[in-house]
Symmetry: C2
Subunit: 314 residues, 2 copies
């Protein structure tokens, strides 16, 4: 192999994480810096270069194949971030080109969930798989669908919006302007919304009652791990809605596995055990007992960097 390393950049709404990994997925150096507080995108990219350039020197720039960037609303085809609601910069930002110019390396951009899928395919739970679905359960629900060994970008680079398929017709209002989107139910935000609705309607005894109004998904997870039946039922409900939607995804793409990543997935069996049950129940019989539900095999802290690094090997 000509090159030994790639650079990965994970651009989040608050922080940007970056690192350099070798072909085996070992991160040889990494760092973080704030995404916010820069005068402009150009100033952000300069600051990023100031941090990454010394790391590149350490491994020798000539040994680096390129740079992968995972960013909200990142479009692989254009290399641009397009109208990302949670970033300090508005409109369309040609970030891949800007980073490429600054670092003097080829750069590729996609959204965070697709970068995670490529990371799993290259270094994680999807190694050797040609057909799988990556689901990231964070503030929202992101996804990357891989078929025939290739990421499905769609004709415009915007495929994979599993978070915005309709889970509940005329259901909860979504930030996208429509109603009932899956991510309003199956995400950290979604499970909190469910908890708030239930606390308003039901009289279950639960330790979460005290936190009503300032509930977080982490509190729900801790309560569930501590045996709070109300919190456990919240996971069960979330799994039911997610299972129904995933049964439809399986009917369309027949994946070998569905791989979960992100805050809500950290609950592990609390989510995956009921999910397996509901998914099997909802599946068309030809798919039953064939789809593996797996957790990401990339360490939480490094997964986003590794996903971005993996893009640059493609």
């Amino acid at each position: 192999m000509k090159y030994q390393y790639t650079v990965g950049i994970d651009l989040g709404g608050t922080n940007t994480a970056f690192g350099i990994a070798d072909a085996s997925g070992k991160i040889v150096s990494k760092g973080t810096m704030p995404t916010t507080g820069h005068e402009s995108v150009a100033a952000y990219v300069l600051a990023l270069n100031d941090r990454i350039a010394p790391l590149m020197e350490q491994v020798g720039k000539g040994n680096i194949a390129g740079v992968g960037i995972g960013a909200p609303n990142g479009n692989y085809f254009t290399g641009k971030i397009e109208f990302a609601p949670n970033l300090p910069w508005s409109g369309v930002i040609p970030l891949a080109q800007m980073v490429s110019d600054a670092l003097g390396l080829k750069a590729w951009l996609t959204n965070d969930a697709k970068a995670a899928a490529i990371g799993e395919m290259t270094y994680g739970a999807a190694r050797g798989m040609n057909d799988f679905v990556m689901v990231t359960l964070g503030t929202g629900l992101g996804s990357g669908i891989v078929s025939n060994g290739k990421m499905i970008y769609g004709h415009d680079g915007l495929a994979g919006e599993l978070g915005h398929i309709i889970a509940e017709r005329n259901g909860r209002k979504c930030n996208c302007g429509r109603k009932g989107c899956l991510e309003r139910y199956a995400s950290a935000t979604g499970i909190v919304l469910t908890a708030e609705e239930w606390l308003a309607e039901r009289k279950d005894a639960t330790t979460l009652q005290d936190a009503n109004g300032k509930l977080t998904a982490r509190m729900i997870q801790e309560a569930a791990f501590a045996g709070d039946t109300f919190a456990i039922a919240l996971y069960d409900y979330t799994a039911r809605i997610l299972g129904q939607s995933l049964a439809d995804v399986v009917a369309l793409t027949s994946p070998e596995a569905i791989i979960f990543f992100g805050g809500l997935a950290n609950a592990g069996p609390l989510l995956l055990e009921p999910l397996q049950k509901y998914l099997e129940y909802d599946l068309l019989s030809i798919y039953q007992r064939k789809v593996k539900l797996l957790l990401s095999q990339l360490a939480d802290a490094d997964a986003a960097i590794l996903g971005a690094c993996a893009m640059a090997w493609e």
Copy 2:
């Protein structure tokens, strides 16, 4: 090009159509024979060979690249028909191998909707497209999803069951044993079921009242073309349900176009105009005004043969 022709076989529940086409999609010879009435699958394949062999002689067997077969429940990966409920033969039938042995040519098998998708990609409305969805609206609803220029078969060859995504939770009972599958609404069968439900519940003046109990999709189409508002409303309802489900398919695969084929699609604007309206309404904004709704460009009578012929070029 070494070869000039391919053989296509369209195996239906009642009849089998076959033909030989050149690389431009011109059918140079064709024929039909009954699917039923043979002592065994082996006898059927022998009879088929008796009919196709003379056609192959005419163009010179050495000029033929291979044989494509479209069949219900056909699995591309195994070359087998698997538990097809509407064929005279039960269980698993290694049809690709049997046809290959009989005709002395390589043979490929897939289901009819995927063959139709390959036909559109090779000769029809999807020429030059890398990302599109084929929807066949016949007795049931079949589909073939193409991404990155490749058919999505899934890990087991069984992807593309759009007819069995859930359109209506706890809705109409489906032959698959579940409830609310899209094909129970959006298909020739589905529109008749809607008509029967409405005739039982509503008092609209309609010429279809007389045919209640022996309604067909063709009758509904003829009534709608003649201006029957009840029949037109049946198409509108069918389009609404179909539009909702297709909005989810677009969110997952972001196709350039959705191409329709089959009896119900023959209604043309009766179905496609309301469908366009509902789909646009249901789409996430990033996809709006970008997805073309097209009718198949393959002549009805030849489309299935051409789809099968196209497979053998792949």
